[in-house]
Structures are given as C-alpha cells and as structure tokens.
Symmetry: C2
Subunit: 322 residues, 2 copies
C-alpha cells in the first residue's frame, strides 16, 4: 500500500521541494533565512513503552527529520486526534512527556489543534507534529552528493525501538529490559558537522523500514552501490535474540535515535570519533562503503562469507511502530 | 472535554507564543522575516460533502488560520493517517482535491507523512496540515487590540459548512442544495487590509464553535463587551430552516470560509465595501458593536426585542464537522 500511496502523492503534489523526497522541505524566504519544514504523525501502539511514549516519539521524530537536513530545530506544532473518553490522566502524562522532550531538545511547541473522534477510533490518541528549523550553517546534505569511495556509518546499535515496542505489546511471550532508543539527534548532528564540516554527504534517521530502507533509498538517489559488512553492524544481543525469535531482520527494524551517515573517505575517522564522543553516538560504527556499480543496489557481506542483496522493505514489516 | 484539554496543553507547553492563544504562532528569525506557523487536523465525516471534501477542508483550514493573522500562506505539510484497506481511488480523489485547493490558494504542499492504521480506525483518512506563512505587511492583528466603539463584521452568511455536513451525513431526513462555504480567505484578508490598513483590529475564521465562540473569546481577551443585533446577522433561509429542525443555533455552527472582523468605527464602511467587492465577501455585514462593559460578555439583541447572553459553546455542538 505504501508504495502506491507515495506514487499518488508525488504525482498530485508535484513540485521541486516535494520531489526532492527528503524527509523535510527546505526553502528560503525573501533572500533571508533558509528554513526546513517537516511533518510526522505518530500512531504507535502501545502509547507507553520502555524508554518512551507517543509524546516523546512525536517530538523526537520531527526534531530528527529537521536535524538530518543540518537545520537547527526551533518550533513545533502539535495536532492531537483524541479518542472520546480517553483518560485525561493519560493525556496529561503524554503531554508532560512532550514538554520534557521539547525542553530537552531546546525546541518549543508553539501552536496546536485538537480533534475528538468517537470511541473505538484513534486508539486513545494520534499525534501529528510539524516542525520548522533554521539553517545556521552553510550545509547542503543530500543523498545525491554520495560518491563511490564514501564511507557508510551508523550512529549506534540498530533495531532497539521497533523491537522494544513489539515486546511491549505483550502479544509475544518475550520479556526483556530493552528500551527504545528514542532521542533527539540535532546535538549529535551538530557535533558531527563541527568535526567534519566539509565531509558529510548525507544523513538520514533510520525510522520506519530501518537502516536497510534508508540505504536502498540513498543508493537509488545517488545511483551508487552500497556494500555492507554484516559483522560491522552494531546490534545489541537482546535485539538480535528477539529478532531471531520473531523472524525479523534488525536491518529493517525502526530506530528512533539512530542515523545513517555517509561521509567522504577521509572524513570517516574524525566523523566516527566525533560521534562516539557524544552521548547519543557512543556505539557509532563504520558499516560499509560506497561503490560505483551496480547503481541503486545494496549488498550485505554476511558473517558466513556470502553476499546477499538488501532490498527495500516491501510493505510494513512492523505496523504501528511509530 | 475540550476545555479540560486546553488547560492540559496550556499548562504543559507554557510559552509566550502558545499563551497568545491565537490560531497561529508568530515568530521572527534572526531579525529577518516574520513568520506565522499553524496546524489543523481534519476528521470530518463524511469525507465528501456538498461543496467540498476532507482534502479541500484540510488545505483551507490551515490557509485561513495563517490568513487571519495577516500573513501570506506559503507552504503546507500534509500528514495522512489512513485506514488499512482504504480504496486508493478515494485517496486519489482527496489528494487531487488538495492539490486543486492548494493551487487555487497559491500555496504549495512541500512535505508529507503517511501512517496506516488497522481497519475500523481513522474512518478512511484523517489529514493534518501544518502551514508556514510570511508577513509581507507591517500588521499586528490581535483580539487584545479591540476597543469600545469598534464595529463587528462577518464576511458573509453563517452556518453553511456545519449544516451542509450534517445534512450530508444522511442521518436526518433532510434534503437541501446547501453547500459548504469552504474557501481560502487570504485574498479577502488582503483586500480588506489594502482598503483599511490601519483600521483592522482582529480577524478570526469562525470554524468550530461558530461565530459565537469566536466573539466570546475576543470579548474575554480584549476585556470588552460585544453587542450583536440578531436581525443583522446574515443566515441563509435554508440554513435557518435546517437549524430550526435540528435544534441548532447558526451562531454556533462551524463555517469554513467566513471570518469575524473587528474594525475601528471609522473603518467599518470602507471595510464592508472592500469585503463585498470580493467574491468570498459578497454577503458581508455589520452585526454588532463593541462596548466597554460588562467586560468579557457577548449579548444578542433578538429580533423580538429581548437581549440574551451569548455563551461560549460548551462541549462540541456538532462533532466531526471539520
């Protein structure tokens, strides 16, 4: 369904900003500030899970979509769709969590809207957050800048969020201390751009569809090939274990505080050092490299020595994860 | 529920921009452009109704929230929450309608997000639109500027949208040719501000809660009293008839293409002339005046010669109308 929808939207709303297919639109007003603008709806189930809740996720999701463009997130809107009869105490907890997440990220929720729908709709609450950020740096990050020879990094162990939410649903007979990795990434992006201001080609937070989907999109847009080394990809043992039981591949599992980073070859070392020095990048790793051909493809060299194609996720591996 | 929610949000997200309690936040970036930012979710049922659909409504709602601040609407985001199994043809019609509405309003939908929820949730589709506008004029419109002696105008007959949607639900044995008034209002606002650049105190589109709710909010924020003349308030005969049958008061019924305008007394004549010269303001009328006391109150002088208090709408008179 998702691919079809994307075609519907791109065809209807055809314009250069949307066609860039980044997670945010970038525009300039009257020759003044360059701005980034993005939107994200959160429909996660359950509303509360280890390491976070729908409110925190709504703030971080939009902060991160702005952050990976290189913009500084400033202002958020919050649009709530509430199920009639939702316990106000639950709403208060969610709203308090949003406030704390916004405060911690240094952004302000400045405008809002609330709609109420009947019982049985909306699972308690859906939250849309849109965000406006401003560019304080002369940076233009884009998948189209990726070149053969570049290094592919991730900012830490992958798959935490999706796995934690899935376990929190309680439908599976699994217990774990695993927590969502939900976190605001603009501080980490800032540290990275300070360290290698010229060396960063593209950033993307690896949410729905996971690291695999981000990399396939990057390969397609840059017409390059990515070669990953499975043994270099950081995955927590408890995520690996849960994914094995659940029949999931961590490469496709959603993250909410991890990003994929493509840097020029000479920038890889300093970039990794800068990431690892930051609290949200301690587990950063170099996971692969960019080749010239075959264009638009991603390959994984497995721990057993084979090589397999990494496809884009077809459909939703895990619905209602974010 | 709505009042409680508002308290929850205002308390949690306490900041000067949100506390202004306008339908949009206004901020300035680096001493450069002054911007307006707003968000609106549409959950209207049914998705299609005479005169419009959820897509058109989503575009106009956000365009109008920007327009009534005096800003020029520029960019919209679109966040879709789709019910699994939604007919793609329906989605295509809605998206085409959004595109047409955006084109007609001169705004661009530049960034988007889609989430899919299970069957039985979301009634087909909910749409959030957030919007960014820029101030091309040195105007500061605010309910706090309203003074005793000011004139109260509406831009045309009231109650069309809510009544049309209610009839379209088909739950009532009513037939009518009535259409929603959904329309983008920034052109009308521009014509008004051209005509009386110094004379406009405050504007508000009269959506949920209708003209009555807007006026009570304005009276409370400006600490003035508003005295309305029932015989001056334009209401189409078919709206009046339907509301009588339904037990509704048109003053509380949602509009999607009408605004309440408060102007300085000397500006009332030229303002009305400018409104009436515009396609979306042909039925504009002067409906009342601002007095100094008792502050925070709105009164209606009825056609029968009595005077009654106009309260804010308690709860939702008509759920799922926008």
């Amino acid at each position: 369904m998702h691919d079809l929808i994307e075609v519907v939207f791109l065809r209807a709303f055809d314009n250069p900003l949307l066609a860039a297919r980044e997670d945010q639109a970038i525009f300039q007003l009257d020759g003044a500030s360059r701005l980034a603008f993005t939107t994200d709806s959160s429909v996660v189930k359950p509303l509360f899970f280890p390491g976070g809740d729908i409110g925190k996720l709504a703030v971080h999701g939009t902060v991160n979509d702005l952050a990976v463009s290189g913009a500084e997130p400033l202002y958020l809107s919050a649009g709530f769709i509430l199920e009639e009869g939702l316990d106000l105490e639950i709403l208060e907890r969610i709203v308090a969590s949003m406030r704390d997440a916004a405060d911690a990220a240094g952004v302000r929720i400045v405008t809002g809207d609330t709609k109420v729908v009947e019982r049985g709709k909306a699972d308690g609450v859906y939250i849309n957050t849109a965000g406006v950020g401003v560019f304080r740096r002369e940076v233009e990050l884009s998948a189209t800048s990726i070149q053969a020879g570049d290094a592919v990094l991730v900012s830490g162990p992958i798959g935490d969020h999706g796995t934690a939410v899935l376990i929190a649903r309680g439908e599976l007979e699994l217990e774990s201390d695993l927590e969502s990795d939900t976190a605001p990434l603009h501080g980490l992006v800032g540290a990275l751009l300070d360290a290698v201001p010229e060396g960063v080609r593209a950033l993307r937070d690896a949410t729905r569809g996971g690291v695999a989907t981000v990399l396939v999109e990057m390969a397609l847009r840059s017409e390059t090939c990515m070669l990953l080394s499975e043994s270099s990809i950081p995955v927590r043992p408890e995520v690996r274990g849960a994914c094995e039981i659940l029949g999931l591949d961590p490469l496709y599992v959603a993250n909410e505080g991890k990003m994929v980073i493509v840097v020029a070859p000479e920038a890889a070392g300093p970039a990794l050092a800068a990431l690892r020095a930051h609290p949200f990048g301690q587990g950063a790793a170099r996971i692969g490299e960019v080749r010239s051909a075959p264009p638009g493809m991603v390959f994984l060299r497995t721990v057993t020595g084979g090589t397999r194609v990494v496809d884009m996720l077809a459909g939703e591996q895990l619905p209602r994860i974010c």
